[in-house]
Every structure is written in C-alpha cells, then in structure tokens.
Amino acid sequence: MVAAPIRPTQQAALSAMLDSMNSAPGRVDPGNTVLPFGRYDRLHVARFVILQDETLGDLAAYGTSFPNAPVWLVFLGDCDGAADDMLRDFATTAETGLRSIFAHCDEPPGTDLLDWMRKHFVPPAAQYVNWAGRTVQQIREEAALHDFLQDCLARDATLLTQPAVFVRDRLLAEAQHAGPALSPPAPTPPAWQRERLLWLLTTVLAAILLLPFLLVLSPLLLWQLRVRERADPVITPRPTAAHLAATSRLEDYDVTNPFSAFGSVKPGLFRLCTLLLVFRALEFSTRFIYTRGRLARVGTIHFARWVFLDNRRRLLFASNYDGSLDSYMDDFINKVAFGLNLVFSNGIGWPRTRFLLLGGASYEQEFKNFLHRHEVPTQVWYKAYPDLTASNLATNTQIREGLQREHMTEAEARRWLALI
C-alpha cells in the first residue's frame, strides 16, 4: 500500500480525477488512461481511497484530539509475486497517470516516481489472502475450463445418464483435445519461502521469550483489560442518511464489493501492545492456517488487510468480499464476532467487549452502526475477474484438480461432476 497525505487545497481536484477513472460511480474503467488496471495480468484487485475520517471527533471521549490530522490518499492492491515488482511495473508503464494522481499529495514525487512510491510504502500489520499462491492467470484458465466443460455437457445430453467415471473420461478427452490451455502451477518463489520461514522463526522465538512474562503477568494484564473494557466509551450513533448514501451508491455493481474502514486506535500503550500481539497471531493464522478458501468460517473474503497509519494512531481495514455489505456484516456477527473483537475492540467506540472475545460485534445494531459509520467510500476499485465469487474460484480450482487426477472412483467422479 502506498499512502501519502493529500494537500488540503487539492482534495476536490483529486477526487474528480479519481472519478475520471470510472465509467460510472462504482464501476471502474479497466482501460482508463490514468492507470489501466486491466493491462496488468498479475493484478488481482486494486483501489484508490481518500481516507476522510469523519470519526475524529470521537477522540474527545478520551480527552484528546488530533489537530490537523492528514487526509490520506491510499493506493493498495493485491498481486502475484512481489509488491515491489508490481510498483516498478506501474512506475515504468503508467508514470504519467500515477504522477498526475500523486501530484495532489503534500510532497509530490520528484524525479524518481518508483523511489517516491517506495518511500510512501506502508506494509500491512496483517493481511489475508483467500487462496495462497493462486495466480490471476490460473483463475482465468480455470474459469475458462469450467465454461468449456459446461458446454461439453450441454452439447451431449447422453452424458447426463452415463456413469460418472465414463463421463469424466469423456470430458478429459475433450479437454485435452480442444479445451483451454492450463499452465502448470506457478512455482513458489524461493524468496517468498525464505521470508515465510524467517517470519515463522522470529515469531516462534519471540513467543518463547515473551510467553513466560505474559503468563506471569496474566492476572495483572487481565485485570487491566477488564478495567478498560468496563470504562471505554461505546460510540455507535446511527450513521447519517447522507453517509449511507455516499458509500452504498458505489456498491453492488459486481458480485464482489470493496470495503474500506478507517478509525482511531484507543490511546495508550496497553491497547497498542494488545493490537500488535493480536496482529502477529492473526498474521500467523493467515500465513499458516487460513490459506485455502476460508478465514475461520467465512469463505466470502478474497483479500483483506489491516494497515496502521499516523504512527499507529489510526488503522485502516480494507477487504474485498462477496455479496452485499449487510450479508457481510451478518457473517461477521454470526461466525467470527470473536475475531473482530480481538482486533477492533482496540479501536475507539467499539461496542463493549468482555475478555477481548465476547460481546462487541455480537451487539448487532451497535456493530452495524459502527461499521457503517467508519466506512469510507472506495472511490476507485478494480477486480481482475468480475462476476466471480471466492466460492466460484474454489469450485473452479477443484474442477481443474479433479480433471488432472489420475484416477477416480464412481463416487468421487459423481462429486466432481456435481461441481460442473
């Protein structure tokens, strides 16, 4: 993610420029002249958001304020391979467009655009990827394969009555003969493996060093937590109709929606350290556990990330999810309220929690008000495979894997056929 404060006088002009990248509000033009997203075949999703924080006033509940808080422009996306390679690609092929955007920032790029983007690069505190290692190319090929197999079944009605193993053999023959190209899986870059291993080592080491202290101190820490949880103000007024309209007018054009939310971290070291610990644990789970289609029980999120800004005073949450915001929020409440509480109860105004896990997002109305109120409009949003949900992508992957398997029993073949 690249982030830079916007020059106050330039915010309206920047907003107009971002609008020009859309063919209509909420619908990006993938070939737009500023940054033609569609040309980059390693890019899954990307967005430009102006982080206009309408909840800064909530700081008053803690007797503090954030005068002259910057309004950030953030540019973030998810791609195959290293982020830095993607930035270099952007800097060389879309320099004019990117410069025209970043020219609205406080300290616009000088002679070296790539260098400027690197300097303004903010790594996420934690991130989630629905399916580790699945490339845009693979997604497109698998989608084409699904369509091809569906057409085969539609062409020959006798296939609907034959044994499943026989049908699979027929489909396999047809796919080999006339099906879409299927590239072998992209090799995992060694650098990525090394980084992952190093991350694991340092995390385990840190855990071993920290754990005894945390254990010994746990009664004290728990007491401190409860004191805070009882006293922290809950700030969940209903969002205004105008705010709801400003966000919802950009949503529900694709089967997937972007979500961007911004807010302040509760002041003090205790909450910040809690947050850092939680993010480390979250990052561990997304790197080593939730790598195949689901974040705990939620299977509708393509990508999500949590990013600190303003020296960890404020936090951005950005995700790409299937369905409408209301169903997304219902999923949160019904399936992963505990996970949301772990992170967001360290943010100002969150509904009251107990022991960091309970309550909080379980208070439906307060939670929905909080989320709506902290949502900022995602003005420009691109997704490389419109109309495909995470569930569709998983199905397509299973279809490809099933087709490439040596052998299947009749029962396995029946389950495989049902995917098509």
Partner: protein, 496 residues
C-alpha cells in the same frame, strides 16, 4: 386459531396472528393524506382489527399501516420518525442502491411500476371480508376516508384462488412459527440445528429478537408518550414500536402462460408439471420433494398437515439430487441451523468455529436461517387458470400475480436479505449463472455472463442445465410500511 391469544392481544393488529384465511376476499387501498386534522381524527377511531377481536367471529377486518411519508404528513416530529429503521425511512423505490440490491432493475425498475415509484403512499389499508361482504365494506371505508381527509390514490384488488398462487402451487405452506409465549431463549445449542420456532422480536418491535437484543425503534420520554407502553429494555422510556411490525408490500405480476409454456417446451409430454415442481422446490400440492425426517423440528408440526409438509431440511440432499440447489423454496429458506453440517461437542465446535482442518467450503455459505425469516401474508390477484389451460396457445392472459406482503422487525436483515442474498443472488450456494427460477430478473452480470440458467442435478452428479429461462415475474409496485400497535396508532393520530 386454537392456541390461546398472546399477552397484549388487544394491542397487536391481527395480521401478525393470522392471514385471515376465513376472509377470502380482500382489497388493499393506498391513501394520501390531504387534511391532516381530519385524517388524524379518523385514525384515532378507525375500527382496526386486533388479535383480541379474533375470539369472536369477524365478518370483515381492517388493518392500517403507515409509510415514513405518512408519519411525516401526520405531523410526527422528525426526531421521532428518525427513530425508525433507515430502510423504512428511505423507502423501497427511491434509492438506486437499494433497487440494485433487491433486483429492481431492468423490467423490474421502479420507473416501470404502477405505484410507489415516487415513494410510498402515506397510508395503506388492508381490507378483508367474507366473499359477499367485501364490496360493501370497501365502498363504506372508501367513502368514509374520502370524507376524512384522505384521497384514495390506488386500489389493489385481490382474488381468491383457493389457497393456490397463480402458477398453481399451494401457497403459504411454510411459515415461521412465532413463539408467542416468550419462552424460547435464542442462541442456545439447540440453534446449531434448524428450527422453525422464532422469537416474537423478529416480527414485533419492542421484544427481544433472535440475538436476544432489541431492534432499534423510536423511544420517547415519559412526558411525550404517556399513552404508549413502556420500553421493555429501557423502562424510563415509552415504546412507539411495541407490538408494531414493518410491512413490506410488492406487486408481483406473474406470467402464468409463459411459465407453463416454457415448462411444456422443455419437457416430454406430461412432464411439464414435474419440471415446474423442481424449479419451485415443492409439489403442486405443497408437499416437499424430499422425504420427511424422523426427528421432529422445533416449531414444525402444529398439526399433521404441517408435519407432512415441513418436517424436513436439505441436509441429506447437499448436491440437490432431489430438490435442485437453486429451487425457489430452497433459496427462500435454506433451512439451516447456526452450524450447518452439525458439529457437536466443544472440541468439534471449536475446530469448526476456528475453521481449521479441511472444512467443506460450501457448508457455511448459508448458515443461521433463523435471522432471516419473514411472515408472509400475501394475496393473489387476477384470473385463475389451471396449468393445462395456461399451456394452450389460445389461453387469454389471466393478468394475475401476487400482492406479496410480509411482516418483519428488521427489513434489511430479513426481507432485504432474503431477497438479495438468497433469492436474487446469482451465487447462491456456490451456484453460478442462475438466480431465482421464478422471481429472478434474468439480467446478465456486468461482464455479460448470463444469469438465466437453471441446473437440475442428475443421478450421475452432472447437472442438466436449462438455458434462457424467461423472466416469469415482474415487479410493478411496492413499498415499506409500519403496521403499528393500536396504542401507537392512536398516539400517532393524536396530534400536537
């Protein structure tokens, strides 16, 4: 009506309790307030039928609902009106984002509606009567309201199709059973499985909902609302919502000839009904396509007929071999508990909740049906034609459809969710390329991919896919209303 009436029966409009099956004739009147004082005076005395009235024979019944416009035009303070749900305040038709979510685009777009496109009418009157008495009742009420400061801007007639909807299916077969006793505690282990007994607070404001919480509604200080009941959760305040419900009305035109001709064209002679039954997900008689289960389901089985039609879930039919995954009733209520697939015991629950191991990716796509139930009270309109007549080339257009009407306490989590995430979703249950086989608008997605298919899973697992299924249902009107408790109605009408 064998069960004993609930507490506060005299404060609750009877539609919450009954669909008035004993009163087969009905007409809905759309009113505009012209003279505020006169309108208030009439609303203060209007003979609204409550659950309490049902203990004696009623030859006619009247229900009254108000839109957000209506509340404002009655002179209710903005601070009070602002306590109602945002979707009620914004209305069904005037926000394009909402129209997108509801599938009200293309032919269904409000621009093509007969009524409601510019916003809800102020007041909705639902009139029910024994067949011979409706005409007199309607004429009487229409004349009275005209003299009482209202203009009748629309009349939605209905017809009695003998318990069937225009396509010929027995209608209203599955309804949530409301726990009027207030004994059910939501959120226990019992909710891991599907249950049909739903707390009052999902349909009536002022009571605990399925989260064990109170849905937002206007609460007034003691002095301002002395005539209103106290709020259960905040006894210092008066509850304008208590015993009231949000009423969703949608005029749905059904292309009965198109529906049956399509079924006939897709099948061999005599098989049209079977195909239609698979698209609906029930037999024409209302019986399910799946065998009943031996274990009872909480809230199913108030009588043998209900048991025979509703004691089933789709758990044993995960691939849709008996009832297609995208069938209309399966979309409208997937009959899932909080933990589809059934995880028992603390360890299993933990593993499932944390999502570790290799879980079935589909199992959690539609969990927790209990948060998304609606109480349906619709009525048919137009001429009844049986399926085999509708298939004939010379059958005249019966101009029929459904005045879809449902009640719920949270429009966005109940009606809108069902309409958006389940019925019109082109991705329901991991499907692709199809939306609701009956109500879907068939418009392609952004990239041009079709949504007018329908998959019929076969024995070998492969699906027979119907393509270019026409749209059978068109929305021609609609609105969000508030069906107040009687004390709330009188309060709203009392004036300054």
């Amino acid at each position: 009506m064998t069960a004993t009436h609930p507490e506060e029966a005299d404060d609750i409009q009877a539609l919450l309790w009954s669909g008035y099956n004993a009163l087969p004739a009905a007409t809905f009147l759309l009113l505009r307030i012209q003279d505020r004082e006169a309108a208030r005076a009439w609303l203060r005395k209007a003979p609204v039928t409550t659950i309490g009235h049902l203990s004696t024979h009623q030859a006619t019944a009247l229900q009254i609902a108000l839109s957000a416009n209506g509340l404002i035009n009655l002179g209710i303070a903005e601070s009070v009106v602002g306590g109602f749900a945002p979707e009620f305040l914004s209305g069904m038709a005037t926000d394009e984002a909402r129209s997108r979510r509801l599938g009200d685009v293309g032919a269904n777009a409000p621009a093509n509606w007969r009524w409601g496109a510019q916003g809800e009418p102020d007041v909705l009157l639902l009139l029910y009567a024994e067949t011979a008495k409706l005409e007199t009742q309607v004429a009487g009420i229409a004349a009275t309201v005209k003299d009482s400061g209202f203009e009748v801007i629309g009349q939605l007639p209905t017809s009695d199709m003998g318990g069937k909807e225009p396509f010929g299916f027995v209608d209203g077969v599955s309804q949530p059973q409301i726990d009027w006793s207030g004994k059910r505690k939501p959120g226990t282990n019992a909710d891991l499985d599907y249950g049909n007994l739903i707390v009052r607070g999902e349909f009536l404001l002022g009571y605990q909902n399925e989260y064990g919480q109170y849905t937002d509604r206007p609460l007034l200080p003691d002095a301002a609302g002395a005539a209103l009941p106290r709020a259960e959760d905040q006894p210092g305040l008066r509850d304008l919502g208590r015993n009231g419900s949000y009423l969703v009305l949608r005029e749905l035109h059904q292309d009965v000839r198109g529906f049956w001709r399509f079924m006939a064209a897709q099948t061999d002679a005599g098989r049209a009904e079977t195909l239609a039954e698979h698209m609906i997900g029930r037999q024409l008689s209302g019986d399910p396509l799946l065998p009943l289960q031996a274990t009872p389901i909480r809230g199913v089985g108030r009588d043998a007929a209900d048991r025979a039609r509703n004691q089933f879930t789709y758990d044993g039919d995960a691939e849709g071999a008996r009832c297609p995954l995208g069938a209309h009733v399966r979309r409208a209520n997937p009959r899932t508990g909080d933990m589809p697939g059934g995880q028992r015991g603390l360890i299993a629950w933990l593993i499932r909740t944390l999502g570790i191991g290799r879980p079935d990716l589909r199992a959690d796509l539609m969990a927790s049906s209990r948060f998304h139930r609606i109480l349906r009270r619709g009525r048919e309109f137009g001429t009844w034609v049986p399926p085999d007549t509708a298939m004939q080339p010379d059958c005249p257009d019966p101009q029929s459809g459904l005045q879809f009407l449902c009640l719920n306490a949270n429009i966005s989590r109940q009606f809108e969710f069902v309409q958006n995430a389940w019925l019109s979703s082109t991705k329901f249950d991991g499907l692709a390329g199809e939306s609701d086989p009956v109500t879907g608008n068939r418009l392609p997605l952004r990239s041009g991919s079709a949504t007018d298919g329908f998959s019929l899973p076969q024995q070998n697992g492969a699906a027979r896919r119907l393509a270019t299924v026409p749209a059978f249902v068109t929305v021609r009107g609609g609105g969000y209303f508030f069906l107040p408790g009687v004390r709330a109605l009188r309060f709203l009408a009392q004036g300054d």
